[in-house]
């Protein structure tokens, strides 16, 4: 099957079978499209999700649950499925201020920290970072990052990104930068700017 997910009608109702070869963000985009197209059909009903090999952790389940909720659909998980638990990395603390991961954070790995987090690589889809402080990534964000004040990175393609509870809501953009950008909350929205941006001479 080439589609990110297939819908099947069974005796118990509608089941959605995920494609293990699809990337999770593709699955989410596809789902969103179907739910928008067939709003009236799905609304008020329930859909059972069969991961079919796609590793769904708690955060990923929540993303699907939220999407369903927006369309008034009840989320059910196929029986007997074990939630995928992410491997918590034993981070090497450089000092009390920051935790430095000297590699790309891979799918299925997570960092839960009380301090700043530095990743010397990418944050792949399926990886997760949670901290109340800040995150500095020498690469691209494809996974989930939740920070307290700001996130610095060379590319923002997150599955989900929040700063102090506020969600980053820009459409998926396949853009990477040569120089770091900083994501911060400005007027209640997450805004991405060039780090140390100088004001220009142009009249506003």
């Amino acid at each position: 099957m080439e589609k990110p997910a297939l819908f099947r009608g069974t005796g118990e109702g509608i089941t959605m079978v995920l494609n293990p070869n699809a990337q999770f963000h593709e699955i989410l985009e596809f789902l969103k499209g179907i739910l928008e197209e067939r709003k009236t059909f799905f609304s008020g009903g329930a859909v059972t999700v069969d991961p079919n090999g796609v590793p769904l952790g708690e955060s990923e389940i929540n993303l699907v649950k939220e999407l369903f909720q927006n369309f008034g659909v009840e989320f059910k998980l196929k029986g007997g499925i074990e939630l995928h638990k992410k491997e918590e990395l034993e981070a090497v603390p450089e000092n009390k201020e920051a935790v430095v991961i000297q590699q790309t954070l891979r799918s299925g790995q997570c960092v839960n920290s009380q301090g700043n987090v530095v990743i010397l690589g990418d944050v792949n889809e399926g990886a997760e970072i949670n901290t109340t402080k800040n995150v500095y990534i020498f690469g691209i964000i494809r996974g989930i990052v939740n920070a307290g004040d700001h996130i610095v990175s060379l590319g923002f393609q997150p599955l989900r990104m929040t700063i102090n509870g506020i969600q980053f809501d820009e459409k998926f953009v396949e853009k990477t930068y040569r120089k770091p950008r900083i994501a911060q909350v400005v007027n209640g929205k997450i805004v991405i700017k060039i780090l140390g941006e100088k004001k220009s001479l142009r009249r506003k």
Partner: protein, 261 residues
Amino acid sequence: MGRAIVITSGKGGVGKTTITANLGASLAKLKKKVVLVDMDIGLRNLDVVMGLENKIVYNIIDVAESRCKIVQALVRDKHLNNSLFLLPASQIHTKDDIDIDKICEIIRAIKGSFDYVLVDSPAGIEHGFDSAITSADEALVVVTPDVSSIRDADRVIGLLENRGIDGTSLIINRHNPALVKRKKILDAESIVDVLGIDLIGIIPEDPQVMEFTNKGEILVLHKNNPTAKAFQNTAKRIEGEDISFLDLKKKKSFFNLFKKK
């Protein structure tokens, strides 16, 4: 209240004075009232570029040392005599004779009666440069597509930080697309990548520039060639208009869509 903009570079000979004159004239053509201030004390050149050497009576040091009022030192441009003025430098003093506070007072006073005060900074990063940037609120950094100019500009941009400068933009002067193509000089994108500030003007290499300097005439007041258009576009961008660059637009050609970066 007008805008006081210093035109500086670090490196000498990159075109600060030529750009000050032509940008000033372009802004005046956009119906603004402009004063050009020559801060190259002891090595004045702005008057020569404007062809006003014979019209100078008083200079900025005379004003600073209270020998005359500002208005007595202002020289009207030959052509735009109601909208373009020159406040000349002294040719007999040196930069050590500059009292920064007095200069700042003078610039502040002029700002009250004009739309733009363009300050032509001397080369270097010593007292003369210091006084030029202290008096201004915004800065234009001029660069040519060579590594020495870029390194000096980088130093200057660093010095401009923490100096109360409210806006900084870059002008690339003596741009030569043919040489860029042959990879002999840097392209605009690479220069902006290193310096990391907003690009506001690309002025092409033009042998007529020197001819006009020798004639004592400002190029944009007599020609409408690509060089003049580049100055006009820069002036419009300073005024807030969003005009894209011809050079960078070429990169987005149909053929380039199929090239992998």
